[in-house]
């Protein structure tokens, strides 16, 4: 079961986001009110270190576990999809204070209500694929 390592990584992710209070609705509200540096510090430091990390991937200094070069799949381009999709996502994030990762972490805390949110998330995904051909991308 080599997938067990991903359970371990996921558990670590769940612990880190819980302990750093990223999954608290209050922290997200505070972030959008610009009343705390906390969330900006977390995302900012993760990205700055990520840029350094990816530069090592691109140079080939750091290889994957098989000794191969690590490739990062580029994101799909499209102005409308990212700005409109991003805004819709942000409305939900601001309302419920949880993006997809934290939803599952909150489930682990025993927050019953989050099951409804996750169910809504699945509906949203179905809905997107049902109407995507009509949307600008």
């Amino acid at each position: 079961m080599k997938n067990i390592r991903f359970i371990v990584l996921g558990a670590l992710f769940g612990i880190v986001l819980s302990k750093a209070e990223v999954i608290s609705w209050y922290r997200i509200y505070e972030m959008f009110k610009f009343q705390s540096f906390h969330m900006y510090g977390i995302i900012g430091s993760a990205v700055v270190l990520g840029i350094i990390l990816f530069s090592f991937f691109k140079k080939g200094t750091i290889k994957n576990y098989l000794g191969e070069k690590i490739m990062i799949e580029p994101k799909e381009k499209g102005f409308y999809r990212t700005i409109i999709g991003g805004t819709i996502f942000g409305l939900g994030w601001g309302l419920i204070g949880a993006c997809p990762g934290p939803m599952f972490i909150l489930l682990g805390r025993g927050v019953l209500s989050i099951l409804i949110v996750i169910f809504g998330g699945l509906l949203g995904v179905l809905f997107y694929h049902a109407i995507k051909h009509k949307l600008p991308h």
């Binding site: 992710f13 986001l17 993760a46 990390l53 999709g85 996502f89 409305l91 939900g92 990762g101 949203g124």
Partner: protein
């Protein structure tokens, strides 16, 4: 040992996220949570509703394992690592929240006004939960990623689509926080 039980500062949380992203890439994968929502739909038989969901979700089994891990991690952190559930919020945030109807902000980890049983059993409360979920699910797949895929991975890779998506995340979040939340509560 005390440090583990205290809330972790940003300079611990942020670097840990990068470390986890490193391991995912090191093991030949990527860091993206919202695509799991598609895998769960496919696993649940959504292929009957739309051909998109006929993809082989088993290829994403590792990522489903990752989110199962996050559930376990959330449980461990809650049960054994967080004796004090209070959030040390900015006093301004607390007074802003009390103005729009949120009492005792930060005393608990989450507001009862949104996550409490009473809210869950009310029409308004249940509607907020499901609509927020739909917005997050729909928006993340339309944008092609969520906080992990766009804000962390995409920005680390200096991608323009991710920068635009993150600007969108903030437009939406600011509209919700400043304009809509005060109307809802």
């Amino acid at each position: 040992m005390d440090f583990i039980l205290e809330p972790w500062p940003w300079y611990i949380g942020g670097p840990f996220i990068t470390l986890i992203m490193f391991f995912l890439f090191y093991y030949g994968k990527k860091f993206g949570i919202s695509s799991n929502l598609e895998s769960i739909c496919a696993m649940g038989g959504a292929g009957k509703l739309h051909e998109f969901f006929t993809f082989d979700w088993k290829k994403n089994r590792w990522n489903l394992m990752f989110i199962i891990g996050t559930v376990i991690g959330g449980f461990i952190a809650f049960k054994f690592m967080t004796p004090d559930q209070a959030i040390a919020l900015n006093p301004e945030t607390i007074s802003d929240l009390s103005e729009i109807g949120f009492q005792n902000a930060g005393v608990q980890y989450l507001p009862d006004e949104i996550f409490g049983l009473e809210a869950l059993l009310s029409i308004k409360g249940a509607a907020i939960l499901i609509i927020a979920g739909i917005l997050v699910g729909f928006g993340s797949r339309y944008a092609g990623g969520c906080t992990s895929g766009h804000a962390i991975t995409g920005l680390s890779n200096l991608e323009l689509p991710s920068l635009i998506a993150v600007i969108g995340f903030f437009i939406g979040g600011l509209i919700m926080t400043w304009l809509i939340l005060p109307l809802l509560f």
